[in-house]
Amino acid sequence: MGGNAVTTSIAISSLSKVFRKEKKIITALSGFELEVREGEFVCLLGPSGCGKTTVLRIVAGLEEKTSGTVKLQGREITSSGSDRGMVFQEFALFPWRTVRKNIEFGLEVKAVPEEKRAVISKKYIDLVGLHGFEDSHPRELSGGMKQRVGIARALANNPKVLLMDEPFGSLDAQTRNLMQKELLRIWSATGKTILFVTHSVDEAVFLADRIVVMTARPGKVREIIPVDLPRPRERTSREFIGVRGKVLAELDEEFEKARAKELSHD
């Protein structure tokens, strides 16, 4: 991507998060730095417990930071809002609402009039490919379809960024691959800035413009690896495997460190 004027969407500086769990003080993040450009697709990758989800939640405004600054388009983030849409691993759809009503949730909160809501929700239902399922309830949908609803629901509010927390983690391998392709399609149609948290190196290499490899706890940026491959990317191509290898190398060391820390704390 890139765009004409390179503007910063998300600017995270010296972010740290400390909390107390029982009697212990846990430093989840320490000095985390990241700049995400407008329209970029950035993946956060790291061992379990490295704080990648915490970063996402702080950007979303769902958690408080302990110190540092987090800015969205130059303005500091103080609380949650629909300008940062979020997609969850467990889908988090409202079971008592239909697909259409789920998508319209944020619009209702903003008191958008009914006719306008219908137009917007139809647009995004079509975008994510759920035409015909407007009046179904979440329990009637497969995992992949549910996540499409999740994505449409967040996008319907025209957020400035889309935050995605391992959104395909609950799906089976085939659906996952399909949804990754679908996500890229939606991304190219909307041009949103995406900050995507994942466990999976393959997924990160397939999707991201840049991959942020995080250290084990306390989390900070270990290495940022750009993925300059043109899309659509071939998972079996030599370049793909090359980037993958590079990322894995960084990651494995952190995994070892995380394991050692876990063992020593037991």
Partner: protein
């Protein structure tokens, strides 16, 4: 209306085996009852000397007869069965509405705010285990025989609704709240659009349970108060006058009313759950 009849027909025809078994067991029950009554009276097919207690077990047909008569031609204490039913239902619904109106907000508050929970807990835990029936003598004196039963019903229905709503409100999936927040919802939106709908199925459970308890309460209160009309009163007075076929008819009426109210509650519960998408 035709739809209801059609679905009732469908219900019966698709479950005819269950219906048949139910009818058969009812018939057996009636037969045993009839035989017992005949035995007490030393009527055919028994003979001998009648037992002293024969009055207390009328024939099933006598009960049916009394049931029918009580609506049109045999008033008890000057009122027909329809009017007694109206009196009981009026009090029952007043107690229900009061309980509902109070238990839902309090339950929601206690489920979402630890302050409300801590404040309310001692009182709830103290009063809840006391059977509502124990309060009858007190309320009958404090509130009189007309309004006393309403308070008893209130107590009986209040706690099941409160506890179920509280539990439901407490159980709201936190991820749903997170999702709502990322969609721009503020506290009030979260309460109205997430907590409230989530709690509805729990509320319906509480209502169904409460209705059953409420009926027991109203009947007991009317019987003990013995002065304000109603189906419980009907039973008490006719028993006191040894008009036992009417007593049994009154008991039958209570069974019917209870089935009707819990049946309606169950229907509403299923409907609401489906509408809310949780079933």
């Amino acid at each position: 209306m035709a739809g209801i009849v059609r679905s009732a027909y469908q219900l019966v025809s698709s479950n005819w085996r269950k219906v048949a078994l139910g009818l058969a067991s009812t018939a057996v029950f009636l037969l045993i009852w009839w035989l017992y009554a005949a035995w007490l009276r030393a009527d055919w097919p028994f003979h001998g000397t009648p037992s002293g207690a024969w009055e207390y077990v009328p024939y099933p047909l006598e009960v049916l007869d009394a049931f029918y008569l009580s609506f049109w031609s045999h008033p008890v204490s000057g009122l027909y069965m329809g009017e007694h039913i109206y009196a009981s239902l009026k009090r029952f619904f007043m107690g229900f509405i009061l309980a509902f109106a109070l238990a839902v907000p309090v339950g929601l508050l206690m489920g979402r705010f630890w302050t409300a929970d801590a404040a309310g807990k001692p009182i709830v835990e103290l009063i809840r285990p006391i059977p509502p029936i124990a309060w009858i003598p007190i309320f009958l004196v404090l509130l009189g025989v007309i309004r006393g039963p309403i308070a008893i019903v209130f107590l009986g229905i209040f706690f099941p609704i409160l506890l179920n709503v509280q539990f439901g409100a407490r159980s709201v999936d936190p991820t749903l709240i997170d999702a709502a927040r990322t969609l721009g919802a503020r506290r009030l939106d979260i309460f109205l659009k997430v907590v409230l709908p989530f709690t509805v199925p729990y509320l319906m459970t509480g209502v169904t349970v409460g209705l059953g308890i409420g009926w027991m309460c109203i009947v007991a209160a009317e019987m003990l108060g013995a002065a304000g009309g109603g189906v419980g009163y009907f039973i008490f007075v006719t028993a006191g006058n040894s008009q036992f076929p009417y007593t049994y008819a009154g008991m039958l009426m209570i069974g019917i009313l209870s089935i009707l109210t819990t049946g309606v509650a169950g229907l509403v519960e299923r409907r609401v759950s489906k509408w809310v998408g949780m079933r």
